[in-house]
């Protein structure tokens, strides 16, 4: 499959197994017989990309269509990138080994802002111009999608087409349009993009003109033509029981990050944590039935041989039939030596019974996310869990033999005071106390409490989207304050690099004027910003300076409530007025009930979808 060059190169790079393809269950088609060749690119390593559920789903959806052959592409690690440049080996797809210029559509899954430079590095390795406007007529159409595109503006001009929302249906519609226009001879790059703009959930950045006010804030987005929508409405899959789900998974030869069956239980979230973007952009909540899930799990087990099934969704314990589901699964999983794991448990739903079901194999650690140190601040962010819930849950965990408790918090939340910071340390101390409250024989060995603190990034489409991010110095001060407050050596304190959170905030909240800075980094050969060893803060700052960008404009300035926001061009269903209401309630310290208790009229119901809560 590969030529001599590649095989000689493989002997001299780390982890060559990343590049070989040929995995069991990977899809090989006859390229002469398909109408559309689709390259699905993941701008990170093979191990991470192979673990991504979205990619797994869309690979399956696209390949189920007989006219489409979807192949996978991952970012080469830096040693491989050097070799590729040295021997002029272009970026290629794993299945066929063909270089990307042989493809019709080349899509990137943008999972986190820190993958932007890697995305551009991949475009360069493929030999494509990074700016959409510079691409020739015969260049493949470059598509962006994934959670980052709810504000894709900083990278919008690198893409020909952006898919807003869930891709299962839209990507096929795009493929069909492409094929049809190629066949009837009406295809030109611009005619195709114009026609694609009429598909719901498709955003063509080049079809909008952006104007700015004198003070630098956004003035407006203007469609260039009347038939181009003024706002792009997010697409969702209406019925999760009817939605396609892979029956097989591509089986990696090398170990990947989530090397197991991942069963998506539902989409969306009934909670409304005010800092959480996923909780807003994936609304409305749509569940799968127990029956569907059991069928999918068994089928995947038969076709993969994995010994672990991970049940995932934003907050697994909110699934309305969780006990039924776990019981049905346990009917065969135990006998087949398959374990269940539930990675996203809420503090208030943790029970002894649940732990027994899922931990028969796994011992050791458990993670909870109180997010804030005091009840006042937890109310502000609408986390809706209290200290008693946490103490009860860790008590159960300790009694159940878990000796490692990890607690997730955030620094720099709106209205946060030093008292809230000290509250984190107090909470951790109480968790330690909970351990020692147990009679000695009942305590599991080797107590370890880890307090892991990230820095708040005010994300688009959250009630906190207008908020300021703490300045870099303030974040550092708060980190130091907490460090000095934690004196118990049984409590481990881990915190995120504030520099990363700062850059992340700029990219998450930015507009099109950031693009030249990202291109500047790519021109310097920068990639893998998501990896500590490659993140280069100074280079980002240099890029901002060179491009005349004040990063504080997007972070510590905050956005005015009446300001046009870069992401206003996207309609996620949830309305701006709902977000505004939630913001006001945050400042009043008032909580909002979950969708299961009471519909708060967020607006996501207008997207449709089968669900039991939306009014």
């Amino acid at each position: 499959m590969h030529n001599k060059n590649i095989s000689s190169v493989l002997k001299s790079v780390s982890k060559p197994g990343r590049y070989i393809g040929g995995e069991f269950n990977s899809v090989i088609k006859n390229k002469e017989e398909v109408g559309v060749r689709f390259a699905f690119c993941f701008p990170d390593t093979y191990e991470i990309g192979m673990s991504n559920l979205g990619v797994r789903i869309l690979y399956d959806v696209l390949n189920k269509d007989k006219d489409v052959w979807c192949e996978r592409v991952y970012a080469p690690w830096t040693d491989m990138k050097e070799k590729m440049e040295e021997y002029s080996i272009p970026l290629s797809a794993v299945e066929s080994g063909d270089s990307l210029d042989k493809f019709d559509l080349v899509a990137f899954s943008l999972q986190y802002e820190m993958c932007y430079t890697t995305t551009l590095a991949m475009l360069k390795l493929a030999g494509f111009p990074i700016w959409a406007k510079d691409r020739a007529e015969d260049c493949p159409i470059i598509i962006g999608g994934g959670p980052c595109v709810y504000n894709s503006e900083p990278v919008a001009e690198f893409f020909d087409l952006i898919n807003i929302g869930e891709g299962e249906e839209v990507l096929l519609e795009i493929c069909h349009l492409y094929k049809q226009m190629k066949e009837d001879g009406s295809y030109t790059r611009s005619a195709f993009l114009r026609a694609a703009s009429h598909i719901e959930g498709v955003y063509i950045p080049s079809l909008y003109e952006v104007a700015y006010n004198e003070d630098g804030t956004l003035k407006e987005y203007k469609p260039l033509f009347d038939d181009v929508p003024a706002k792009i409405k997010k697409r969702i899959v209406a019925d999760m029981d009817k939605a396609p789900y892979p029956e097989k998974l591509v089986m990696p030869y090398i170990e990947t990050v989530h090397d197991r069956i991942v069963l998506e239980i539902y989409r969306g979230c009934i909670r409304g944590c005010r800092f959480c973007q996923a909780g807003m952009v994936y609304r409305p909540i749509r569940e799968k039935s127990v029956e569907t899930l059991c069928k999918q799990a068994k089928c995947l087990y038969d076709n993969t041989g994995y010994d672990e099934i991970s049940l995932i969704s934003l907050s697994i314990s909110d699934y309305s039939s969780l006990p039924e589901l776990t019981d049905s699964l346990l009917e065969w999983t135990d006998a087949s030596h398959v374990s269940l794991s539930l990675p996203s448990l809420r503090i208030d739903s943790f029970s002894e019974e649940l732990m027994k079901k899922v931990s028969s194999v796994r011992t050791g650690g458990i993670t909870f996310a109180p997010e804030a140190g005091t009840q006042r601040l937890r109310d502000v962010i609408n986390k809706n869990v209290c200290e008693e819930d946490l103490m009860r849950s860790v008590g159960i965990a300790f009694r159940g033999g878990k000796s490692n408790v990890k607690l997730y918090f955030m620094n720099g939340l709106p209205t946060e005071t030093d008292e809230d910071i000290i509250g984190i340390s107090d909470l951790a101390k109480k968790v330690v106390g909970q351990y020692f409250a147990l009679p000695k024989p009942e305590r599991p060995k080797g107590l370890g409490v880890t307090v892991s603190v990230s820095c708040f990034v005010p994300k688009p489409f959250t009630p906190f989207q207008w908020e300021k991010q703490d300045t870099f110095d303030e974040l550092i001060r708060k980190q130091e304050l907490l460090k000095s407050a934690i004196t118990d050596r049984r409590i481990k304190y881990a915190y995120h690099d504030a520099k990363v959170s700062f850059i992340e905030a700029v990219l998450a909240r930015g507009d099109r004027r950031l693009a030249p800075a990202i291109a500047y980094l790519a021109d310097k050969g920068q990639m893998f910003d998501a990896w500590d060893e490659y993140f280069n803060y100074d280079l980002w700052i240099e890029a901002f300076e060179k491009c005349g960008i004040d990063p504080a404009f997007y972070t510590s300035r905050g956005f005015g409530l009446d300001e046009v926001l870069p992401w206003d061009i996207i309609d996620i269903g949830v309305t701006k007025s709902f977000l505004r209401r939630e913001r006001d309630k945050a400042y009043e310290g008032k909580t909002t009930p979950s969708c299961a208790e009471h519909c708060s009229g967020c607006g996501a119901n207008k997207l449709g979808g089968n669900n039991r809560w939306c009014k």
Binding site: N5, I20, G22, M251
Partner: protein
Amino acid sequence: MVQVNTSKLFLRFRFKKQGSLQYISHLDLVRTMHKVIVRAKLPLWYTEGFNPKPKMIFAAPLSIGTESECEFMDIRMNEYIDPAEAMARINANMTSEMQIYEAYYPESKFTDLKWMSYRITVSSLGDPDQLAQRCNSLFASDTIEVPKKNSEQTVNIRPLIKSACATRAGKNIVIDTILSADPSAFLNPEYVIKALRDKCGMLTSPDLTAEHYEILRLNAYFGDMTEFR
């Protein structure tokens, strides 16, 4: 049904691991096989305890970058299964670069495996006849000192080489060699490559397109040089 002693019923598979699968490490091979045999729905025996696992034993782990026509793995079964049936089911669950071509209930142990043969193909700069000659005079000497892995010390690998012969094949040099596979004195063929580099001046160019080599494991033998099975 055939009567077999089921107290420890191991089924042996002989398989090839070729092409791009030479880049899969032994650890990853084990992980992969685990899932393969589960998919194949074999009557596997599982270990006791909290984390039951099937029992798989491999002979002479292969290092990354070596292809093989002769790999062995023993898998413990819970009950008798026809070897041909087991082989067919496993093969249906693997890709073409890794296929079993022999399955049987063994009488030997992996510790009885003493020698393995390899074919090393080198594309090198220079006159292939001359280089082949240089290799053969190296193999004719009594000692071949090669630096140990991650160490300043050297080791004499000559006693672990049963035979080695270099010939010219077009522009390449082909070395057929039999190396010790005794678990206590296993010689990795990469050491032979090291010797070619240090003593014969081959494979020293930094340009990967100019010089490269391939290693293929061919067969396995008992101490008396009869074929291992």
